[in-house]
């Protein structure tokens, strides 16, 4: 597992700090929850009804905040949360973590069945008062009002796997720009030029992740999701040539195609559709991004990271 221990040490330090600090402060709150429809194990389905995968991995940008599918605890009195946080820091945080997600030996309380079913400390209190000696949890002789404060604190955390407040990615720039430059010469320079179509490419992006997604598949489905920057890059459209039975060729930008119909927009802006019966009329698709698609089967992740590190320097 490629995880460092630095954050862990940080959280231990936070425990110690909390224990002595005990200053009233709300726990970190989350921005509005994402719609719950993605990644449930059920394939997300596009609004038109087809099973979709890569596209629908992002929630549709409806421009409005959606309701949570699971009601949160009603907000508690901030003073109670503050008192609860102080008591939790002193008594609980070492084992259960300062954020209740688990610490030295104690389990994650946020996903605990008992905590999820607790309202105001009535279930938590039982465990606190009696302990779970077989599992190493001691008894605590705390008054009911304090238990209620602890519950208010624990319930103030966001419950869910999609907690955006935890999305604090470090830089994705992990590659080597020099190797990336060599890779560029070998793999990309046949079609692209740093002084031509890619001049100043790296300057178009403030987020290297979007830069990476964009060079991997310009105009691909990694673009256009909520809260993400979309860079203006020229993406050659997919075109199609339809050769009619009389030999006439009609060319244009591909609209849609299935086994029975092809729709294109010709150079004068007219949308034209042609019925397809097997190979009649003959249809040839010209996808300028085909080389990008084929490369997906060949890249190593290191090559991707190196290329991104290099393209980031192309300002």
């Amino acid at each position: 597992m490629r995880l460092t221990n630095s954050t862990y040490l940080g959280s231990i330090a936070a425990v110690v700090l909390l224990a002595s600090f005990a200053t009233a402060q709300d726990p970190k709150q989350s921005p509005p929850q994402k719609p719950p429809s993605t990644n449930t194990g059920n394939t997300p389905v596009s609004p038109a009804g087809a099973p979709a995968t890569t596209q629908a991995a992002q929630p549709p940008n409806t421009g409005r905040v959606r309701r949570s599918a699971y009601p949160e605890h009603p907000p508690a009195d901030p003073a109670a949360i503050a008192r609860g946080k102080a008591v939790f820091g002193v008594n609980c945080a070492f084992c259960h973590g300062s954020d209740a997600r688990g610490g030295e030996g104690g389990p994650n309380l946020i996903r605990s069945e008992l905590v999820l079913n607790d309202r105001n400390g009535e279930l938590i209190g039982e465990v606190v008062h009696n302990g779970r000696v077989d599992k190493g949890m001691p008894k605590f002789n705390l008054p009911d009002a304090t238990i209620s404060d602890i519950a208010a604190y624990v319930h103030s955390f966001k419950v869910g796997g999609y907690d955006e407040s935890r999305h604090q990615p470090p830089s994705i720039l992990v590659g080597d720009a020099k190797t990336g430059q060599a890779d560029f010469e070998k793999t990309c320079a046949g079609c692209h030029s740093l002084t031509g179509d890619l001049k100043g490419f790296g300057a178009k992006f403030s987020d290297p992740k979007i830069l990476q997604q964009t060079w991997l598949m310009p105009g691909g489905s990694g673009r256009g999701f909520p809260g993400q920057q979309v860079a203006e890059v020229h993406v050659p459209p997919t075109t199609v040539t339809v050769t009619l039975p009389d030999g006439q060729k009609v060319e244009g930008q591909l609209g849609r195609i299935d086994d029975f119909l092809v729709t294109l927009t010709d150079s004068e802006g007219n949308e034209r559709s042609f019925r397809r019966d097997g190979d009649t009329p003959r249809v040839e698709i010209h996808d300028a991004l085909q080389p990008h698609r084929e490369l997906l089967t060949k890249y190593t992740d290191k090559e991707i990271h190196d290329l991104t590190a290099f393209l980031e320097t192309v300002k």
């Binding site: 490629r2 609004p47 009804g49 890569t54 599918a69 699971y70 994650n108 991997l216 990694g222 698609r293």
Partner: protein, 564 residues
């Protein structure tokens, strides 16, 4: 099959009542033909209909008989069906539920499509969306009743259909109730809590009726344990409950987890129905992904049994008979819930009782369904790159380098998988297993650097890159090799719907362009099509008034085709 008068729904309902139970339980053990009484049409999961009136020679003459659009929610107006507008009084709307309904269907946008089975028994269709059930007259699609459940919330991603036992219908709700309805009137008989809403369970599965068992699965995207339950059809009382992961320190499989706490939060949710073998009393179902799905180190380095497995559960006892893991220690939320198909067929020169499954991770398996003995593993995609081969057990081996990366790991497939819930099909005429295939790629970025990992599906950001091809794919069950692929033209991100095969030498499926298509099951060549809008559920077929019908769900509308 009883013939019903086509003139009036009242007569249809009355005749069904007069003749006793709406569903004769014996029908459930028969092979798929005149009716569609359970999720896959019959217990085998083959979706192979014995009907031949519609066949290769006349499928081009199929005619649209009617369409019917259903409207979820508490509205007063029932769907009218084609040409029936104003011709009769509105169908009754029965409202139940323990919530306010404020966070109901409409609040989650994506839940207004039919993505499950529509039952057809006695000339009546029973269809569903989350929080909603309808009975429609199969002759013209007009509504007989509409049941609406006021929800407390929960993930409203879809409802896979209703279960039918005698005169009673069973529906799961996103806020974790099993609701029993009178199939004649839509009136509620009772509802029971089937899982804990506070733990963020949500329930989408179609209940499966086996004898006097209502078999029910649920879903969850927090770190709650997955389980299968059996309920008494009369009382709704729990008969048994089987957990997909070990719950106590001495439970079998615990050695594949870091500790009991990890196992108890290990997922494995069964949200798609399984198939049933009446001879062995085994209910064979695919289990879901382990949780936390991505930051998997907290689960330990083991296989995490019995997640991402094919499991055989005795329906009388709720005990595990055998298991085979199709994705040990999954790290991409590639659950293995895809419908298993039961087939009695020749294998190495001997007749055998087999189970076939193609899973979300891009692998195909043939097993002996009595013993669980592994027979064949195949990879039906050329793009999947999360694995480093197959071990001596026949199970794919994960390549940890492709879990995710701070700089991004380019992985095929994207989270949606090479295939997913849309049901596969099998034809005994060709010996081929048919499955939608989506060769997708995504970048998986690690975003959680806390060594305790994330919960549920958190800890990563998955950004789609491209799809190299969407296919309708046929697999030889004897070898696991692809017999043919039909590629949908262009570079669509959506692909085939679920599938249906018939003894009329036909294979039906919705394509990426919004057509319902009849294919030649021998080679995948299209024979007939009609453009309806994206087909959202697997096509179905049944007999009505002595003629074969083809039923298609596209979004909120049902389309019935027949020959005139």
């Amino acid at each position: 099959m009883r013939r019903l008068l086509s003139s009036a729904s009242i007569a249809a309902l009355a005749s069904a009542c007069l003749l006793g139970q709406i569903l004769n339980p014996a029908l459930l053990t028969q092979r798929l033909g005149d009716s569609w009484p359970t999720y896959s049409g019959d217990y085998t999961g083959q979706r192979y209909s014995s009907l031949t009136e519609i066949n290769q020679s006349n499928v081009k003459n199929l005619t649209l008989a009617w369409t019917s659009k259903v409207t979820p929610g508490p509205g007063e107006q029932g769907a009218s069906g084609g040409g029936r507008r104003g011709a009769r009084t509105a169908a009754p709307v029965i409202v139940g539920g323990e919530g306010t309904g404020e966070v109901g269907t409409a609040a989650f946008g994506g839940a207004t499509r039919i993505v499950g089975a529509t039952l057809q028994v006695g000339g009546i269709l029973y269809t569903s969306m989350p929080d909603n059930a309808w009975a429609l007259d199969a002759h013209d699609g007009h509504e007989l009743w509409h049941y609406f459940w006021k929800t407390k919330g929960g993930t409203h991603i879809g409802n896979r259909g209703l279960g039918l036992w005698g005169n009673w219908l069973y529906m799961e709700t996103p806020d974790d109730y099993l609701v029993c309805l009178d199939a004649k009137t839509g009136k509620e008989r009772w509802h029971k809590v089937i899982s804990d809403f506070n733990q963020q369970y949500f329930s989408t599965m179609s209940p499966i009726v086996v004898g006097n068992h209502i078999i029910v699965g649920t879903g969850n995207d927090l770190d709650a344990p997955g389980f299968l339950q059996s309920f008494d059809p009369e009382t709704g009382d729990l008969q048994w409950k089987w957990f997909a992961t070990p719950q106590e320190k001495n439970d079998p499989g615990i050695e594949t987890w870091a500790n009991v706490d990890a196992a108890r939060h290990g997922g494995g949710h069964m949200w798609i129905p399984g198939s049933y073998d009446p001879e062995t009393h085994l209910y064979i179902v695919g289990t879901g992904n382990p949780t936390p799905a991505y930051t998997a180190h907290v689960r330990g380095e083991g296989d995490n049994l019995y997640t991402c497995s094919l499991v055989a559960i005795n329906v009388d006892t709720g005990k595990l008979k055998w298991w085979f893991q199709t994705s040990p220690h999954d790290t991409h939320d590639f659950d293995s819930t895809q419908t298993p198909i039961l087939v009695d067929a020749d294998f190495n020169g001997k007749p055998r009782k087999l189970v076939l499954q193609a899973t979300r991770n891009g692998f195909y398996f043939t097993l002996d369904r009595v013993t669980g003995e592994h027979l064949v593993t195949g990879k039906f995609t050329e793009t999947a790159n999360w694995d480093s081969g197959v071990d001596k057990r026949g199970e794919p081996v994960r390549n940890p380098k492709k879990d995710f990366d701070i700089g991004g790991a380019l992985v095929s497939p994207a989270n949606g998988g090479i295939t997913n819930w849309p049901p596969p099909a099998f034809s005994p005429q060709t010996g081929l297993f048919y499955v939608p295939q989506n060769d997708s790629y995504a970048m998986y970025y690690l975003t959680e650097t806390d060594p305790r990992g994330a919960m549920g599906l958190g800890g990563k950001e998955e950004l789609g890159v491209a799809t190299l091809g969407n296919y309708l794919t046929a697999i030889d069950y004897k070898t696991g090799k692809v017999a043919w692929r039909h590629r949908f033209p262009g570079n669509t991100t959506s692909g085939s719907s679920g599938l249906l095969t018939t003894a009329g030498h036909l294979l039906f499926g919705g394509d990426a362009g919004g057509n319902i298509v009849a294919y030649d099951p021998a080679n995948g060549k299209p024979i007939w099509h009609s453009h309806l809008g994206l087909v959202s559920a697997a096509p179905e077929t049944y007999m009505l008034d002595g003629h074969q019908y083809l039923l298609i769900a596209a979004g909120d509308t049902l389309f019935a085709f027949t020959l005139y």
